[in-house]
Symmetry: C2
């Protein structure tokens, strides 16, 4: 009988989980909202319930393990998440060991963008390559790098923090302590913040700015041009560093692809000899908001 694993994605809004077999076929899905306001114990209970539901339905004998995709820095050895102020009570809390103890199943913790990279490699846009990098363009910008089919973790587990690459040394200050991080110039938050500086309005979302740009507003278009150029600087660096065949973009900001991608490609082509010489693919990811869940499920098969 074919093995399956459970992938769980603990997002800021939704808690997604699925039982997925080794061929990548989803056997069963479950989803709910993430009740961040109810605190850590409620979240742990929600995750436990989701896993139990899938396990009871699919059986314990063929379950390879559970992967959890979670935002923040992951300490792989400890199975702990750190540096995520949006997850109340999780800082240095032994999520992995606590879940394993509750359920008697092996758990793996993984950063959400790393899991998305693994998911796209396994069942998405990166199926036909062994090496890729992904940028997840949302409120912030996450990153994940796949080398030889697996997540590049580094020695602690913090590898792939691509959203904190410097694209402008004297740019916007970031919560990480740096100035000019990619996510301060190319995320949804960055677009909204530029719109404010350009006096387009005080409480605009990136989506509002998108609609203004589509309606012809030049200042709104500028926001997406700067976003594209900033992405281009970061991607040119990644292309020079990795010479990978594939770089993926995902997340809510993909909707503005037609606005930001032309200046992005122009910047990459101008800045990277390796890009011009080797023509890697730079494309939209395809698994949408299920990439992290797929990646989390995949982890138990790769061990």
């Amino acid at each position: 009988m074919s093995r399956y694993s459970i992938g769980l994605d603990l997002g800021g809004t939704n808690l997604r989980a699925a039982a997925i077999d080794e061929s990548g076929k989803v056997l069963e899905r479950t989803a709910g909202s993430t009740n961040l306001s109810e605190g850590r114990d409620a979240l742990m209970d929600d995750m436990t319930a989701a896993v139990l539901r899938l396990r009871d339905s699919q059986g314990i004998s063929t379950l390879a393990g559970v992967g959890i995709a979670i935002p923040g820095f992951i300490l792989m050895k400890e199975g702990v998440v750190t540096g995520n102020p949006n997850l109340p009570g999780f800082e240095n809390f032994p999520v992995r060991d606590e879940m394993q103890q509750r359920l008697g199943i092996p758990f793996i913790l993984e950063n959400d963008a790393n899991a998305a990279a693994q998911g796209e490699k396994w069942m998405g846009a990166g199926k036909d390559v062994n090496d890729l990098a992904i940028l997840t363009l949302g409120t912030g910008i996450g990153g994940g790098v796949i080398v030889d089919g697996k997540v590049l973790h580094g020695f602690v587990g913090m590898g792939g923090e691509l959203g904190h690459m410097t694209v402008n040394p004297t740019g916007n200050p970031c919560g990480c302590g740096n100035r000019g991080c990619l996510e301060k110039h190319a995320s949804a938050t960055a677009v909204a913040s530029m719109a404010r500086l350009l006096a387009l309005g005080q409480n605009l979302t990136a989506e509002d700015v998108y609609h203004m740009a589509m309606a012809g507003n030049e200042h709104a278009k500028t926001c997406f041009r700067v976003m594209g150029q900033s992405l281009g600087i970061a991607l040119a660096n990644l292309v020079n560093i990795f010479n990978f065949p594939l770089y993926l973009l995902s997340g809510g900001m993909l909707g503005a692809w037609d606005l930001f991608s032309p200046p992005m490609f122009e910047e990459i082509a101008g800045r990277s000899f390796t890009y011009r010489a080797t023509k890697p693919r730079i494309e939209k990811a395809v698994l949408g908001n299920e990439a992290g869940m797929f990646g989390a499920a995949c982890l138990s098969f790769l061990k």
Copy 2:
């Protein structure tokens, strides 16, 4: 009987070669100057002679293969070097296949900085880690990345071009088409060029500027401070991307370590959360100008 391989480093000035056994012990060395002015055929003959000398002396039966470290972009599949105007007649010339045909031994071509990374991993400062990155600080800046003990090549072989990371989007124009490449702000050439702009003198070498800085000249010190800050921006990016345990610096500019490393470390610490949280080692490489030769020799054992 223990196997050995031959490592050959074709530098701009010297042609080094050695027979090295699997434990990293140098069995025999040979060196000469690189006669670039005599053209490709003379260089091919010099390389052939060096390999023959070592092979005849050490025997053919235990020879695993020959590695050649060479500056430029390497197309791994083709065994060809490209993009190096200093190697006359080598552009797209089938170096590897031609050498194999001449000598009937398997050859591997590798970029010089990638080979240096591999050498330091094998027998140098990186012996105790599986993952590292190196920056070679010379006339230009080369780079090499080791993942899981081996050179990260990318899909063509151009991986690790760390000298062309953008450290200043509006910075100095580079021959690669970019502006603000690391090597335009932190190489020996960059330091000499800054010294010229700061009116320190027209025909100064980086070494002249070093001596002026050591004698207290503030403008000369500024050149090395900018060099250190530029390296810091690049290294902070690498730390955020890789979370490796070790980053190495090598090359002729290491002599100015005391001048450029304090601002470099300050910049890294300010810009990289991952650096502050995980304390990776950022150190001088130890194999000096033999790193590429060691790395080239190592390649035949890794196949």
